[in-house]
Symmetry: D3
Subunit: 163 residues, 6 copies
């Protein structure tokens, strides 16, 4: 795999993907249904993973979804997703969702989440993907944090399985 | 209205909005249902119109939707929409949809369409919107073409109503 | 193609197709989502085109969708579609949508639109369709207007492409 | 209620309501999902009941839904519904669904069902509805059969409740 | 067929299947859309039938759906379905839907319905299914009532077809 | 809060909630769309949280969603959710999804996930919820593991925020 060229974050990034909220997006508490937002993130993260890997990809795990504030009727959701880091056949994709008030342009932070996708070959076996090249300070921070999150997950899993 | 500052196209543009096609997007001929693509364009054009006008907007008309090629299963649709021109309370928004092959990155042109939205005040009456500032050659071409399309529509309507 | 018998408008017409509006049909402004109405028109026009041509049909273009008035909660939408004219493998289908108040029976005009469908043979190549026979004055008016709209479209396209 | 004028079946009938089947209408056995067809019948029967009664109506019961044959991909469903008979505030609405082959025009019988709706006043209390006037032999047959079905239902209910 | 072992009701039963109502489940009268409830019952009854028969099953008929009370926004629906009796290749499945108030735990009866499913072999021909063993008094009551309902249906059908 | 009585896990548990997979649940790779499964888990976890707390609840976070194996067409999904532990106003709810083959009864593990919900009072402020009483060994294991997962999350968050 050494000759597979690394790719910059910008080659697969999704920025400010808009979604105008309609009444049928609401839950029983009359805020936007969180499950719908998660499902949209998953479908968008798939595009990031397939662009980066140039292979069919599947969701392997989702970590640390945090809902910061509820989205309301008449908001426009903004989805931002980028590839943070890759390890072998797996990739961490960060998602950040904001709600924009279309009339004032104000935004607020709604949700953060981290998806792990795995790339598959024609036989549905994992296949290595390119390394990612972080280009900005923010991208380098995400690249480092991805490793910290991964270590935290492995440590927790170890503790749980040793019981 | 003279003091309302004009806004550049970039302030409301939507570029490369992705949508991964799933089997439930298909029509009976097993290509992507055109009505679904139109509905998505309408919902996205609404965001462009509300960003530009900072008012509630409604679809007044749609012209010249052309389906160039069918989209297929496993395509990723790319929606591009921008404000071409405004007249009083109405705005022409152009939509261009492409299909991207996620694995090769190849794209092909699927659909073009032109939406006319009207901005409304609190009493649901039409309200004037800012002029738009085209900044690139492409944006200037669209600005001029919007006027030609508008004249064509008015001429056809005249002929039809004089019968 | 000379031996393909022409068909009357009545052989493929759709009249007073009802759709009771429910809350999940609403947009953020709490009127019926225009994109949903367009998508329904497209799906119904497909039936008209396939009945007339007896072939698989695809949407080629949509022109002059005009939203006259918003539809509201509790309205019943009435869809009327008929084949206006055919040229070779292409057909213009007119759509008129009204909103009916179920309790008083009052109706108001919501939307007009003109769809162009193309009939395809087994190899997905365009195939000629029967001529249409207008039988009433209204159908004859639509038959003539279809030609005027078509000329208007061609003229506008010419102007745009010569720039 | 004696002065409420009776209404003919034709004043509320729904005939040949078309629905083009798409892949997302299918069940796991790859025929059209019966629950979707029932739900569509219920939504259409509501329109018949509200037209006849000029009141808000609700489904009280559904009897004798029979699935005669499965509908397949590429079929066009045809829904036919008419008011068979009324008793006080309740109405029996018959539904008959056929599947049309768009290319040959052949139809086959898919489903029959009988819905009972109740009309409500502003306080959600049952309110009497007009009598129905059957005008054709077929409508008179349905008018008589509605009574037989009603008696059968009452007799069965009696037997069940006496146990 | 003598060697096919009978199965208890408990082997295929569905109890307290929850569904939290959201705004997009509402009808125009702002109660839960009855057609949606029927469709969900049909999809759940399919699971009961396939578990009991270990074959692909299809809906043959639905009888005696009674809506007892409307479900409202914020209710949690509880679906209960069990196999009442089988005859050759056909099975009666009873459905009972309740609405639970999540905060107080109170429930009320929303709907009862009886579905008849038929099991199919690999050639889509009806195939015999196991007998069912009712184990509780309630299950034995349902087992007996299924026969009474069946006789009532046959008697009504006879009367209708002899006319 | 000392007088709020603790509740057993069984008072809010959801077991073997079935969902028969249909073709419109599929993703582009023709396995069940993971985002749909997550959204369903979220909607079911809401019921568990509201039953336990007797208050309106909202999703605060989701951790450690692991997709173990893809679900396929014709599978029946089985959702199992239970309250693992509570801290003040927040609750960890574990979800385990299996796929059942309806004809053989075989099941396989599809997904595990841990949701954190927060209970709200009438002013949308967090409100304390009852403690949970684990009653079986499995429930006690989950009760302990919930604390380990929580500590792992807090430790990772600390490391990330100190950078």
């Amino acid at each position: 795999m050494s000759e597979m060229p690394a790719k910059p974050v910008s080659a697969s990034v999704i920025e400010k993907h808009v979604y105008k909220v309609f009444p049928n997006d609401m839950n029983a508490h009359n805020t936007v249904f969180g499950g719908m937002i998660m499902a949209k993130c998953d479908r968008l993260a798939l595009v990031v993973a397939e662009r980066h890997s140039a292979h069919v990809c599947v969701t392997a795990a989702v970590d640390s979804i945090h809902f910061r504030a509820p989205a309301k009727g008449n908001d426009t959701l903004l989805f931002n997703l980028s590839l943070n880091r890759s390890w072998g056949s797996s990739m961490e994709i960060g998602a950040r969702v904001e709600a924009e008030n279309s009339y004032t342009g104000d935004t607020r932070h709604i949700l953060s989440a981290f998806f792990t996708f795995v790339a598959l070959d024609e036989n549905d076996k994992p296949v290595d993907v390119p390394h990612v090249i972080p280009e900005s300070d923010e991208q380098r921070r995400r690249f480092e944090n991805a490793e910290i999150r991964r270590e935290g997950r492995l440590k927790t899993r170890e503790k749980l399985s040793s019981r």
